[in-house]
């Protein structure tokens, strides 16, 4: 197929050996960054996400959410119509009117994100100026920020990155002469945040802050004494913005699986000079517990093959976990975008010779998956049932964003997400 520009480059990747990365450019079967709103609107409870886009955008979010949530959601779409495009109505006046209407209805909103979309980008509607203007009108009750979740610029989880990056400039400055403080970056389930906080406090790291915060009024402070740990692998822009504020990244694998969690905590422990004895004292019991819980799933998963379609950017850490802790075979690990710097520690842990791919040409990738006939494919919702119908078990990757999977006590839950489809196939006699 000539649409796909495919290149094999033998870029040296430490640890993963000199595994070539297959770069493809064809049809990508992935969500756009707007999808992140589905979990972000639950995470920051006094924030509201207003997409400035088309009917397609509105339909995407409600369809990707899978369900139309019973409660009135904290997201909506300002649908651009013909009048806006023809210049009969001024887009900025219209947007001001819609925002007034929304804020009158939802007085509890403290933070409003104007979220750019493909159409708003193409017509060059300047949402950053709109956000400034609207902030000036509605502060101090409501602060208005903007980011782009458009599919011409962002892929799925990059929407969270863009959202968090837009928050960085408004984070309060840390007090002058503040002692080193730790910021954990990336949306996590509350239960996971609480567990990680307990472990980090056990190591003697007090006052750990999380981003995004649960409330827009509880923004973490940031400055030159901030050390930050990424909890998610897709936060390139956020990291850049934090570094511009003086914060320093602690390089680490991601806290997926027992090994990943330990290495992630170790990065913090090293930065804080925690003694090996204290580190073991804090982590040994949960680590043992995680290993015991994982053992049961390893029986089911060991030796099985897994094929990742690019979707959430979680693919490489997940592949590392499944290969090293579950003894699974990696057929192909596809990722929409490979951030070498943030994933350096992960790549070093991947088995040598792992087939990596970046970008997508979905039809060709499906051909490869059919040829390899792996035991399980990790893919998006559009592909899952067609592959199941062809006799290949699948795991929807979107579930990995909605389920608490990080940390010691979720390691087995993560394994179970992969074991369940295989187990189900064994049970069914129809």
């Amino acid at each position: 197929m000539s649409t796909a520009t495919t290149s094999l480059s033998a870029t040296a990747i430490s640890g993963c050996g000199d595994a070539p990365v297959l770069r493809e450019r064809g049809q990508r079967e992935v969500f756009c960054g707007l999808t992140g709103i589905i979990w972000l609107h639950r995470k920051i409870q006094d924030a509201f996400f207003l997409v400035v886009g088309s009917r397609t955008c509105a339909h995407l979010i409600q369809s990707a959410a899978g369900v139309m949530i019973f409660a009135e959601p904290r997201f909506a779409t300002a649908i651009i119509d013909e009048r806006d495009l023809a210049g009969i109505a001024d887009c900025n006046d219209e947007l001001d009117r819609v925002v007034d209407q929304l804020l009158a209805r939802r007085p509890e909103i403290r933070l409003l994100f104007l979220v750019g979309s493909c159409p708003s980008e193409v017509i060059k509607l300047d949402l950053s100026r709109a956000a400034e203007r609207l902030s000036a009108t509605h502060m101090p009750q409501v602060r208005v920020l903007n980011y782009s979740g458009s599919g011409i610029e962002t892929t799925f989880t990059q929407g969270e990155d863009a959202c968090l990056a837009s928050l960085v400039p408004i984070l309060p400055r840390e007090a002058p002469g503040a002692s080193p403080n730790l910021l954990v970056v990336g949306a996590l389930a509350e239960v996971v945040e609480d567990q990680l906080r307990r472990l980090l406090e056990g190591l003697g790291i007090e006052g750990v802050q999380f981003m995004p915060p649960r409330s827009a009024l509880a923004l973490p402070a940031v400055g030159p004494n901030t050390r930050y740990l990424l909890a998610q692998p897709f936060l390139a822009d956020t990291a850049r913005a934090l570094e511009a504020r003086g914060a320093t990244r602690l390089p680490a694998p991601f806290p997926l699986g027992a090994e990943g969690t330990t290495a992630w905590l170790q990065a913090a422990a090293n930065a804080w000079g925690v003694s090996p004895e204290r580190f073991d004292a804090v982590t040994q019991a949960p680590l043992d517990r995680a290993r015991r819980a994982l053992a049961r799933h390893r029986e089911e998963l060991a030796g099985k093959s897994v094929f990742f379609f690019p979707d959430s950017q979680l693919e490489i850490p997940l592949a590392r976990f499944l290969a090293r802790e579950m003894d699974m075979r990696l057929v192909e690990v596809g990722t929409p975008y490979l951030h070498r710097q943030h994933l350096a520690e992960e790549l070093a842990l991947l088995p040598a010779g792992t087939a990596l791919s970046e970008g997508q040409d979905v039809d060709r990738q499906l051909d490869r998956a059919r040829t390899a006939h792996p035991d399980i494919v990790v893919c998006g919702l559009g592909l899952a049932n067609p592959l199941e119908a062809e006799g290949i078990s699948t795991k929807w990757s979107i579930e990995l964003l909605f389920t608490p999977i990080q940390g010691y006590d979720q390691a087995a839950d993560l394994a179970e997400l992969f074991a369940r489809p295989l187990n189900r196939r064994l049970r069914l006699k129809v």
Partner: protein, 521 residues
């Protein structure tokens, strides 16, 4: 700009996908950014289709915009043709590609592929999903059946002696509300009448099937939202008449049988005498007495809403207290129907407005879409789904049409199930302090454990009625609380209306019972 929380319809290209996915042998190349691929999951997850929709997206990115997106589109068309070898291609743009104006039709034709190319122009910022489906089906029908249109004025050839009459069945599409089973039920009915089905389209039809549409004598239009425009063209081009009645409910099914029999020149009496539905007897059965006059609010696409309102009144004995649609294209039909029920028609796709109207009408049952199911749940009102937009639950594993005689059985079960059963209503009326049969208990057969009776409420304060200066005296407020919740709203409204008409400022216990005597039930 319009503030939208939920949308009843997707964009028009999703309507085009519903046609392409329903058909066999076509492939749709859509100039669109990557996010638009979400639409695949509508078909693979909601409808549980086992194949990907036959759609290729160009998935252009920001960096392509400065370059040659037209070339990207042409390559996508060429590759899609090479890989899928369709008998025909549909090409078009989604909302974002519409803005960059690449002319998908012209680009695709310039490739000189050996198959027909149907160019779809679906204005995304103006139209919606059902319009897109209707326009696409119309374009497909014109493109493939166009070459067999006889010269204007040619009379339809006589049916050969001894041949059975033939019709087409038009409208069923992918992602339609019960389309899969309606087609089976209506085909069965047509066969019983001695009528052959020439082509069902778009569901399961190939371009070659579409080319044969002109062979039928007339068209059965099951879903006017999708097939109305194509049927009008077929009427002009081939002189094919089209059915007007949509066979949802016993009365409408009988009308449909009579209409079809007249078009085909067959005798419907045997099929009408058979009328194999339990609905008429179940509705007359004495235990259905409690359904009498239940207040229902009906909302959906125009066809299903209008049909449901008729069934609700004539076949269930309900009272229609609201009727509306989100399809502005069919507002006229709904306005006409609303006159029959003496209700203000609601033509809107503003979810919040619809919620407010339902709340104000205080129905006991909502017949709506998945949207109204959420509204009803929030308001604590029973609900049954009668129309798209659909969710995975609207594709039941069992045979479950809503059209024809079996469809009427399905409607009876689906609409009665969410309601509290007759005797249960009485028990609540009689024994209001009972720990199981209290106001806040759900219908017991719906499986929820009886909820604990909530704490007794504090003595009510005088309550200002919504209607203005009217005030409920505390004793009257207490008394109205003794009325079972499923009729309390009506009692309260009637009392307030009565008090206003009488020029009263305060509603007392006597006012309540005076109003009861005035309105009766």
């Amino acid at each position: 700009m319009q503030l939208t929380l939920w949308t009843y319809e997707g964009p028009p290209h999703v309507g085009a996908m519903r046609i392409a996915t329903a058909m066999e042998g076509v492939h749709y190349v859509l100039h669109a950014p990557q996010g638009d691929t979400y639409a695949d999951l509508l078909f693979t997850m909601i409808e549980r289709r086992s194949k990907r929709p036959p759609v290729t997206y160009t998935t252009f990115q920001a960096r392509d915009l400065g370059g040659d997106t037209a070339e990207l589109f042409k390559n996508a068309v060429r590759d899609a043709y090479a890989r899928f070898q369709p008998q025909a291609l549909l090409v078009g743009a989604s909302c974002t590609a519409e803005l960059i104006q690449d002319d998908p039709g012209g680009l695709a034709r310039a490739l000189n592929l050996p198959v027909p190319v149907v160019a779809l122009e679906l204005p995304s910022y103006q139209k919606k999903e059902n319009w897109g489906a209707a326009e696409t089906f119309y374009q497909v029908v014109r493109a493939f059946a166009g070459s067999s249109v006889p010269p204007p004025g040619t009379p339809r050839p006589e049916r050969p002696a001894g041949a059975r009459p033939r019709c087409n069945v038009l409208g069923p599409a992918a992602l339609g509300f019960r389309h899969r089973d309606d087609v089976v039920e209506i085909t069965r009915l047509l066969v019983q009448l001695g009528i052959d089905v020439n082509v069902v389209a778009p569901l399961g039809a190939t371009p070659a099937d579409i080319a044969r549409l002109g062979d039928a004598e007339f068209n059965v239009v099951l879903y006017p939202e999708i097939a109305g425009q194509a049927a009008a063209w077929l009427a002009r081009s081939f002189g094919q008449k089209a059915t007007k009645s949509v066979p949802i409910g016993i009365g409408a099914t009988r009308d449909f049988i009579n209409e079809v029999a007249a078009l085909a020149g067959v005798d419907p009496s045997a099929v009408l005498a058979g009328s194999p539905s339990r609905l008429p007897w179940y509705s007359r059965s004495v235990d259905s007495n409690y359904l009498t006059g239940k207040r229902v609010f009906v909302f959906g696409d125009a066809t299903h809403a209008v049909a449901a309102a008729r069934v609700a009144r004539e076949e269930m004995g309900f009272t229609v207290v609201g009727l509306g649609t989100y399809s502005r294209e069919f507002a006229r039909e709904v306005r006409e129907a609303a006159k029959l029920y003496d209700v203000e028609p609601l033509i809107s796709d503003d979810y919040l407005e619809i919620e407010a109207r339902i709340a104000a009408a205080q129905p006991e049952l909502v017949l709506g879409t998945q949207m109204e199911r959420h509204i009803a749940k929030r308001l604590g009102i029973a609900c049954a789904v009668i129309s798209a937009p659909v969710h995975v639950q609207d594709f039941p594993a069992r045979y479950s049409p809503v059209m024809g005689f079996e469809g009427a059985n399905v409607l009876f079960d689906a609409w009665i199930h969410p309601l509290m059963m007759g005797l249960e209503e009485h028990l609540i009326g009689m024994f209001r302090g009972d720990f199981e049969f209290h106001d806040d208990a759900a219908p017991s057969h719906l499986g929820h454990a009886a909820q604990a009776r909530p704490e007794p409420r504090p003595e009510p304060e005088p309550v200002a009625a919504a209607a203005g200066s009217l005030v409920w005296a505390p004793e009257a407020e207490k008394e109205v609380g003794k009325i079972p919740f499923f009729v309390r709203g009506k009692a309260r409204r009637n009392t307030e209306k009565f008090a206003l008409a009488q020029g009263l400022a305060t509603i007392t216990v006597d006012t309540l019972y005076d109003a009861k005597a005035h309105y009766g039930r």
